[in-house]
């Protein structure tokens, strides 16, 4: 009876053990259900992360494309800025050429002005000597008039003499008186002939003076002609210089227009670049927000993983307890001997299942650890991505500021170029004026040259006529001398008449013939003198013409001087203008160099941004990959959990069977009282695993 009680107790304890096992398996089942729920939540979150990462990847692609667009715009910008730079260099060169041409022009104009001054002085001298000549010629004219009058008087006297000689031959009585009259008339005639001689000597001296002054005039007119030739040469070189100036100014104007267009295009490009960078900045902010969301989600996932870790630990504990209980069950079964054989088998199977559960939970624990590592990596990558996005945002801001600086620089350049444009237009007008003035000067100089050449010819003619006049006056002198001699002889003869009345008729005949000679001599003298008078009159007219011509030339030279002065002023203005343009273009070149520098900086910044964006892309790709890995891992966990669920269900079924078996045994034992069975028996093993 004791053994039965012990057996009953053992049975009860077995049932208690089975109850414990049942409870444990219930707990196991409910825990696995919890895990299932948590895991489906985690899967949902992973899917959400995946979607977010995909959208972030799309946005970084957009940023990449924008950055590429910016890069190409900046390349264009840099190219156009370089073009502008080159154009400005060309402009600088042109302006330098223009400045040099203007300097040359100024110098030649200065030379021309100096030469014109000299010419003016020479012309004034010529004018003065011509005036002197005119005055002396007038004197000669007056002298010759007086000579003419005197000669006419002489002729008249000689006629009277003839008449008186005739009356002498007619009346010898009146001879003495008439002889005295004749002598007084002859004395008068002698005196007047002396006067004529002196006058003609004076005339000869004056004509000599005229000849020498005309030679001087001829020389000075020659020098004027030479100077006017020089002026012509100088003016033609000025004309060439002015044309060069015109050409260079036109080229400067064209370059300015080109530079203006290019700088406007650069301003538009910079504005476009600005917009694109603004878009990039916005995209980067969106990426940042997206990454922060991803980080928050991953942290959530981390929390879930920790919860799962706790549950896995609980399951591990349950598996250990199950193992323990199964071993205890085996021990009790061994103690029960034969009756416990089936129980021992069941306990063995439960132990196997518990071991499998323990292994599965170990696997889950390992997987969860790797999952935690993955989550930490994801958080780190997100932080990296955030940092890179911040850097990119800063670079984009810098790029935006630099573009704004470029835009303002281009605006400045544009205004400077418009100023240059205006200045070159003014220059163009001024240079055209210069060209016209120089052409006028050239024409004037040619006219002056021609006029002075004519003058030279006229003066040469005058020289010739004065030579002739010299000859004529010499002839007149000779004639006068002969007259004087003849008159002296007449005096002698008349003086002899009073003494020798007898020789009167022969003497009077000789006197008559001498008087005729004198008459013809006086006639020829008169003719010569009238010739001389005509020649002098012609000379007078000629010198008056020359004087008028010289005055005209003087006026032309003074107008030429004025034109050259104006020319000089105009070229000085042009010089000033070109200096201004030089300064402005140097400033513009400086500004453009700074712009090129800024554009190069922006290019660098943009390249950095592009690199950063591709880094972000890489990080995101890795994140997505990691998330996919996490998803795979979670699916593995899921399958493990379902196997654990199955195991738990099997344990439950076994336990139910066991319980029913025990209850059957118990009832059987109650229904069979008195039957004692040897309990402590060595049992043969069942080889069921």
């Amino acid at each position: 009876m004791n053994t039965e009680a012990t057996n009953n107790n053992k049975l009860i304890s077995n049932i208690t053990i089975v109850d414990d096992l049942t409870n444990q398996s219930h707990q196991l089942y409910s825990n696995t259900t919890n895990i299932n729920n948590l895991y489906s939540q985690t899967v949902d979150q992973f899917n959400y992360i995946n979607a977010r990462l995909k959208s972030t990847a799309t946005q970084t692609d957009t940023i990449s494309a924008s950055a590429e667009g910016i890069l190409s715009s900046l390349n264009e910008l840099t190219a156009s800025i370089e073009e502008i730079s080159r154009n400005f260099d060309a402009l600088s060169a042109s302006v330098n050429e223009t400045a040099a041409a203007v300097e040359e022009s100024t110098k030649s104009i200065q030379n021309t002005a100096n030469t014109a001054q000299e010419m003016t002085i020479s012309a004034t001298e010529v004018s003065n000597s011509m005036n002197e000549i005119t005055a002396s010629i007038k004197n000669i004219s007056t002298e010759i008039d007086s000579v003419s009058t005197t000669t006419v008087e002489t002729a008249a006297g000689i006629e009277e003499l003839s008449k008186s000689i005739q009356s002498v031959s007619n009346s010898a009585n009146e001879l003495a008186v008439e002889a005295e009259q004749t002598t007084s008339s002859i004395n008068e005639m002698a005196a007047s002939i002396e006067e004529v001689t002196t006058a003609t000597e004076n005339l000869a001296t004056q004509i000599e003076e005229i000849a020498s002054s005309i030679e001087e005039t001829s020389k000075s007119v020659q020098s004027v002609a030479n100077n006017s030739e020089k002026i012509k040469e100088a003016s033609s070189s000025s004309a060439t210089a002015a044309q060069q100036l015109d050409r260079s100014i036109k080229s400067v104007a064209t370059l300015c227009k080109q530079a203006d267009e290019i700088s406007r295009r650069s301003a538009r490009d910079a504005e476009d670049g600005s917009l694109i960078i603004q878009k990039s900045i916005n995209s980067i902010s969106a990426v940042k927000a997206s990454m922060e969301q991803s980080t928050a989600i991953v942290r959530e996932m981390g929390k879930r993983t920790t919860e799962i870790s706790g549950i896995v630990e609980a399951i591990s504990l349950i598996a250990e307890r199950t193992n323990l209980l199964s071993i205890n069950a085996s021990i009790e079964a061994a103690r029960a001997g034969d009756a416990g054989r089936g129980f021992a088998v069941v306990a063995e199977e439960i132990r196997n299942l518990a071991d499998r559960a323990a292994k599965a939970t170990n696997d889950i624990a390992t997987i969860i650890n790797s999952l935690k590592e993955v989550a930490t990596e994801a958080v780190n990558k997100s932080n990296d991505g955030l940092r890179i996005a911040d850097e990119s945002a800063r670079y984009s801001e810098d790029g935006l500021a630099a573009l704004k600086r470029i835009v303002s620089g281009v605006m400045e350049t544009s205004s400077i170029v418009s100023q240059i444009n205006k200045a070159t237009e003014e220059q163009l007008l001024a240079s055209q004026n210069v060209v016209t003035a120089v052409t006028n000067s050239l024409n004037l100089a040619s006219q002056v040259s021609a006029a002075t050449a004519e003058q030279a010819n006229a003066l040469q003619q005058i020289s010739h006529s004065t030579l002739q006049m010299r000859k004529i006056s010499q002839q007149v002198s000779v004639a006068m001398n002969e007259q004087s001699k003849a008159a002296k002889e007449i005096i002698k003869a008349a003086q002899n008449t009073t003494k020798l009345a007898k020789e009167l008729s022969t003497a009077t005949v000789e006197q008559a013939s001498s008087a005729k000679q004198i008459s013809s001599a006086a006639d020829s003298a008169r003719k010569s003198i009238s010739i001389v008078t005509r020649a002098l009159a012609e000379q007078s007219t000629a010198t008056e013409q020359i004087t008028t011509e010289v005055n005209r030339i003087s006026q032309m030279i003074s107008s030429l001087s004025k034109a050259l002065t104006e020319h000089a002023t105009a070229t000085r203005q042009i010089f000033q203008a070109t200096e201004n343009i030089k300064r402005n273009s140097a400033k513009s070149a400086q500004i453009i160099k700074e712009q090129a520098h800024a554009a190069r900086e922006i290019q660098n910044l943009n390249q950095k941004t592009v690199k950063n964006v591709s880094n972000i892309n890489e990080e995101i790709k890795q994140l997505a990959h990691t998330a996919e890995n996490g998803l795979g891992i979670i699916q593995q966990i899921n399958s493990n959990i379902s196997s654990i669920s199955n195991i738990a269900r099997q344990i439950f079924t076994h336990l139910e069977t066991l319980k029913s078996n025990f209850i059957t045994i118990k009832t059987r034992k109650r229904n069979q009282p008195g039957k004692t069975k040897p309990i402590e028996q060595k049992i043969s093993p069942d080889n069921k695993v």
Binding site: I327, S330, I331, D355, K682, N687
Partner: protein
């Protein structure tokens, strides 16, 4: 977990043993001495106890002393984990709990495979080993429960 693959012959006598680990070594105890297995929850320390006695625990209404087998065999102490087990043994009205690293197997060992322990080992282990057997490739020492527990008396527990 494989058991010995022995033929189903009622003539071959086997005994059920439970197998436990202590460090790298595998030991076993005959089931007739074993009451049950427990997990360690809390050991109440007892002052003035010998060093291999960690304290006492409550088990099914009984107060059981806890013998740390690692200390008993001269191994360094180790932390109590989820796998640590308390083997409640009973010998001649004396009950004690053996604290081991893990206890997972329940096998039937045929009697003819049990050999006496090698001389060197028995002297080192103070005679706690009563025999040795093979479990696949592994040697398994068979613990002499009487000696393990009886030493308690000599040391005035």
């Amino acid at each position: 977990m494989p058991t010995n693959n022995i033929q189903q012959n009622s003539k071959i006598l086997t005994e059920p043993y439970i197998v436990f680990q202590l460090g790298e070594t595998t030991y076993s105890i005959n089931c007739k001495f074993v009451q049950q297995l427990e997990m360690i929850e809390h050991i109440t320390p007892v002052p003035n106890a010998p060093d291999f006695v960690d304290g006492v625990v409550m088990s099914r209404g009984q107060v059981i002393p806890v013998i740390n087998l690692r200390v008993r065999f001269g191994l360094p102490k180790s932390q109590i984990t989820l796998k640590s087990r308390l083997i409640v043994v009973k010998y001649q009205e004396r009950t004690a709990g053996l604290l081991v690293d893990s206890c997972k197997e329940f096998i039937n060992i045929p009697e003819d495979t049990v050999k006496p322990p090698p001389q060197l080992v028995s002297s080192v282990d103070n005679g706690f080993i009563s025999g040795v057997t093979m479990l696949g490739e592994k040697p398994v020492f068979i613990l002499d429960v009487a000696k393990t527990i009886s030493e308690l008396n000599n040391t005035n527990m």
